[in-house]
Amino acid sequence: MEKRDLISKRVRDIPPSGIRKFFDLLASMEGVISLGVGEPDFVTPWHIREAGIYSVEKGYTSYTSNYGLLELREGIARYLKARYGLDYDPGSELLITVGVSEGLDLAARAILDPGDEVITPDPGYVSYMPCTVLAGGVFVPVPTTIENDFQVKAQDIEKRINPRTKAILLGYPNNPTGAVVDRKELLKVAQVAERHNLIVISDEVYERLVYGVQHTCFASLPGMKERTILLNGFSKAYAMTGWRIGYAAAPEEIIEAMMKIHQYTMMCAPTMAQMAAIEAVKSGDEQVEEMVADYDKRRRIMVKGLNDIGLTCFEPRGAFYAFPSIKSTRLSSDEFAERLLIEEKVAVVPGSTFGQYGEGYIRCCYATSLTEIEEALKRMGRFVKRHRA
């Protein structure tokens, strides 16, 4: 009898994660300073945790509506109206998801037919490609470069459009680069989307983490609300990564399609997370602002420090990552990260993990204490001196 492949071809074709080996290396080492984290170093503010605990105490342990608690959707609708002037009907245009991760998966599966193409900036978040491919779509990366502060250009997107293109997938503020695209360029992207009748999936989970610039919500651009799937969540702004709670805002037809999948695969987001999120969207603002101000200070120290030791770093205006170039050394991103970890016990994530245009860069997260950042910079400075090209 012929041996069958246990694993589907689709999954086999997804390359293994570029950072798995770092997990293993790190596990065997002591005294490592990790700039490779991907979440806030704040704990969820107490009043939000308290709301979650209270909901468990009071016995809110059953399923909610597939769409998510109405009170939460209403709170989010108010939030989007206040911040971006957007009017989403909480009854039909909002869906509570299990983190933005699930929102992304649902969006891809809801809109993509086999062979449909999705254009997205490279480097970009690691999940964009797998989610597209798992939904049967074709992933089309568009390069972004340091010359443009890693902001995607509308003309570069348009060059890659063909009759099979279904959607543009944007993630700004960006992981891994920390880039924020200015409104002028996003308007051009919007025009491209309209000209070619494309859907735009906009992952704006780092929306609150912007420094000295305004975040432009893609759905708020002229004509974009009816063709944008807006994904956002509570993980980064409210330090709720482990709670697994996010939302999608989109035209009714799309939300209904996403909900169709969600109701069969997930039923609903965790009830206690939803109840905590209600508290977050109601009164979490002050803490968010404090957190952003704190990150800003660390961002400046990190960026200046990297430039001072010879790792040229453009100024990231969003998220909590710096994306310096390692071209002053003789090493590839992977080699740099591995050697840095072994020689100086500092963990960073190689830029190549995020796409081929991330090669030659590393991602340094500044969501960690100033003391650790400063010590890490010292160690990296020694490393760069030793490996200078």
Partner: protein
């Protein structure tokens, strides 16, 4: 500008250069503001918070509630000054509520603190009465948690 003082309040060892980078304020201006702050008592003191329990050095603290008869014309100020001139009175506040002055007193032993209260504070003219609360355990001080377990750790590498 107040940001400079907020940073120094949290960590007095931050250099003007670091503060300039963190705030985006030019270095020369940061140095000038700090110098002025030191001169005009905006910055009262640079200090280090020490956890004396770890050094095994005994210190006894007490919160002493003092009820006072306020004096004509000067109110509570004169009596407060007589109290705060004692070095043992480390902190003196005028408060609302069931008593008037909250005084934190430190000594080497309970007897020493009790002695100070009964011999130096209570007999002061204008003092109607005192209630002494000895501090038994410090959980958190000035924003710092003294004991407590280390919180859960994050995944060290995440995309």
């Amino acid at each position: 500008m107040n940001e400079i003082f907020r940073i120094l309040e949290q960590d007095a060892r931050k250099t003007p250069k670091q503060i300039a980078t963190m705030t985006g304020i030019p270095l020369a201006q940061v140095e000038e503001i700090i110098k002025k702050g030191e001169a005009d008592r905006t910055i009262l003191k640079y200090k280090t918070m020490v956890n004396w329990d770890r050094l095994g050095e005994e210190q006894v603290w007490a919160l002493v509630e003092i009820r006072v008869v306020p004096q004509r014309d000067v109110g509570f100020d004169a009596i407060a000054e007589r109290i705060y001139r004692f070095p043992e009175a480390r902190t003196v506040y005028l408060v609302s509520g069931t008593y008037d002055l909250a005084v934190f007193v430190v000594g080497k032993t309970m007897q020493e603190v009790a002695g100070f209260v009964s011999q130096k504070l209570a007999p002061l003219e204008g003092v109607q009465g005192t209630v002494t609360h000895f501090l038994l355990k410090r959980y958190k001080e000035d924003g710092e948690i003294l004991e407590g377990e280390e919180g859960p750790k994050r995944m060290p590498i995440m995309p």
